[in-house]
Amino acid sequence: MQFFGGTAPTLFKRLYWAGYKGRFIALRWPNRPDPVTFNEDEYYAFVSAIPYKNFIESLKNSGSWDSINVFAHSHGNIMVSEAIRLGQAGMVNNYVLTEAAVPAGCYDTSDTVNNYHRFLEVEARFGGWNKTPDSAAQLGYRGHFRNIANAGASSKVPGNVVSFFNPHDYAIFTGAARLIAWEENQILFKPDWGLSGGRVRYWGNPPKGPRVAWNIPFLGGSRLVFHPYESMSFVARPRSQAIGVTATPRLTSAITLNYDLHYNLEFGAEPSDHSGQINRPIQQVFPYFLKVLDSFDIPHVTPP
């Protein structure tokens, strides 16, 4: 089992009391170099997926692990989902995404999911050369992680892929005052227009694909963007809300089960509830950890 970020000790302790007695690895990667936007953070997460994939595969191939289950929070899901996508079939047994700052459309190509009017309106407003890529083939988000599960024998995750979502999540959806929420980032900083360091400016530029302009007065040139990591992180605007605030239909999605954190645990719009499973007392959120173990096919204790 693997976790991310500085909250790992608390997660481990809470899982222990929920019944988990296995091995535990916590990983972190160099994230959030840009305090304003999510874009550089996302790019770092994508790039970090490659060594992470190699690490997981080394565990898998060592043969000393009965099962490998992965848990990732917020933007950590970019790195984990990408590592799983790059990996071999059956790479991990089960995968929990919690409050994930990843477009739902990555896991589900259906129009039902990829019709979030807020993003579509902005796309329509810019139009033309500034329309950003949509499908994975165009270097956009839609379907990028579609085949990690529910894809027959080639599924990278043969077991459960469970998304824990909060329809009020401050960091991903409803917030603004203390930080730019993920959703606002997709509207204001996709394509990235220079606030993020002021070095470059991107635009959609169909049908040739995204283009980047070097922002040097009178001398600035431009080039096409060919790499999906750069395109998704700095150019593409999703057509769906984040998977961390909404459920996706089981039939079309790579997500096999959704768990509503508001419905089940009354998570709200407080910024601290973006990590409510850590920030709240264990007495309030114990069911969360039972459900995580349940998602991992690991026996848990019976709650009092």
Binding site: D66, S67, G90, H117, R118, E121, V122, R125, F126, N130, N150, A153, S155, P158, G159, N160, P167, H168, Y170, F173, T174, G175, A176, A177, R178, I187, L188, W193, W203, Q241, T246, R250, L251, T256, L257, N258, Y259, D260, H262, Y263, N264, L265, E266, G268, A269, E270, P271, F286, P287, Y288, L290, K291, D294, D297, I298, P299, H300, T302, P303, P304
Partner: protein
């Protein structure tokens, strides 16, 4: 000289107009507008009209209403409180923000988790679009009056799950595995190909010795039905099933041989290491059909 001055002036004017037209239609201007609009979204006037009713549709007076508004305050979230009046009505006015969460509760009542709690007031905004308040049609919040919670006992545990059809029988009064032919319920599972990690056909059978079971559906599973019990339930997941799952999560009302009623959640995990099933249940020691229990205990059941 004067002629030259006029020509230069005219050229400067033309160039300025061209620049203005280009700028007016430029993505930069659109983005600047977006930022202003985005900021303004968090100062949208908010009005809300709600009504609290019980399970029979009667108004509930004195219910506590907590409003959570995401706005531009220092914490990013402001909270407001009120109570429902004699007609069950409550309002929120003279407030600004973008996202409104409405949480209703009252001592002695359960809050229905099916109540809508998220409302978006600014442009775009959420899956439901912009919420339009209507004082003539207040948003209805349902509560359910709590009943007696006498003699209801909760038990649960994890048990082995043979995948070759070998029955495992449980004594539900003592929550332990007992020899075949002596238990209250029997659980069987068959897996077509034990070597496969994904996409195998499997089936299960849950039976109640000299009693019966029926699926439990709905939010408040407090009263076991008197009739409608079948001696067993069988299910199957074929290799072609979409979505394919290696586990099932079922909720049942059981009627035991001695006439006692049980509300049970049974989760079969074919890919646990080793395979197992989890049972958690409530029964009334007096034999009554009333199985009302503390609803906090059911939260971790989540979505089946």
């Amino acid at each position: 000289m004067k002629k030259l001055f006029i020509i230069v002036g005219f050229l400067v004017f033309c160039l300025t107009m061209v620049w203005l037209i280009v700028w007016w239609n430029s993505p930069e201007r659109q983005r600047a507008k977006l930022i202003v609009e985005s900021r303004k979204a968090w100062t949208t006037p908010i009005q809300f009209f709600g009504k609290v009713v019980d399970e029979h549709g009667n108004p509930v007076e004195g219910a506590t209403v907590r409003f959570q508004v995401t706005d531009l305050s220092a914490t990013g979230v402001s909270e407001y409180h009120t109570k429902s009046d004699i007609a069950g009505l409550f309002t929120l006015t003279n407030v600004t923000g973008k996202h409104l969460g409405v949480f209703v509760s009252r001592e002695g009542y359960y809050t229905s988790k099916t109540n809508r709690t998220a409302f978006e007031y600014a442009a775009g905004g959420g899956q439901h679009g912009i919420f339009v308040p209507d004082s003539q049609h207040p948003v209805v919040f349902q509560l359910r009056k709590q009943g007696e919670k006498t003699n209801v006992v909760k038990k649960g545990g994890n048990f082995r799950l043979p995948l070759d059809g070998t029955p495992v029988e449980l004594d539900l009064i003592n929550c332990k595995e007992v020899p075949v032919g002596t238990g209250h319920i029997s659980v069987q599972c068959w897996v077509s190909d034990l070597s496969m990690s994904y996409g195998f056909t499997w089936r299960w059978r849950i039976s109640v010795r000299e009693g019966g079971l029926q699926e439990a559906l709905g939010e408040f599973l407090f009263e076991a039905p008197e009739m409608g019990y079948e001696p067993f339930e069988e299910g199957q997941i074929t290799m072609e099933a979409k979505p394919w799952r290696n586990s099932v999560d079922r909720r049942y009302f059981l009627k035991l041989a001695d006439g006692r009623f049980v509300l049970a959640r049974i989760v079969l995990k074919t890919k646990g290491t080793p395979p197992y099933f989890y049972v958690e249940y409530y029964f009334n020691t007096s034999g009554s059909r009333n199985l009302e229990h503390d609803p906090r205990g059911r939260a971790h059941w989540g979505d089946p």
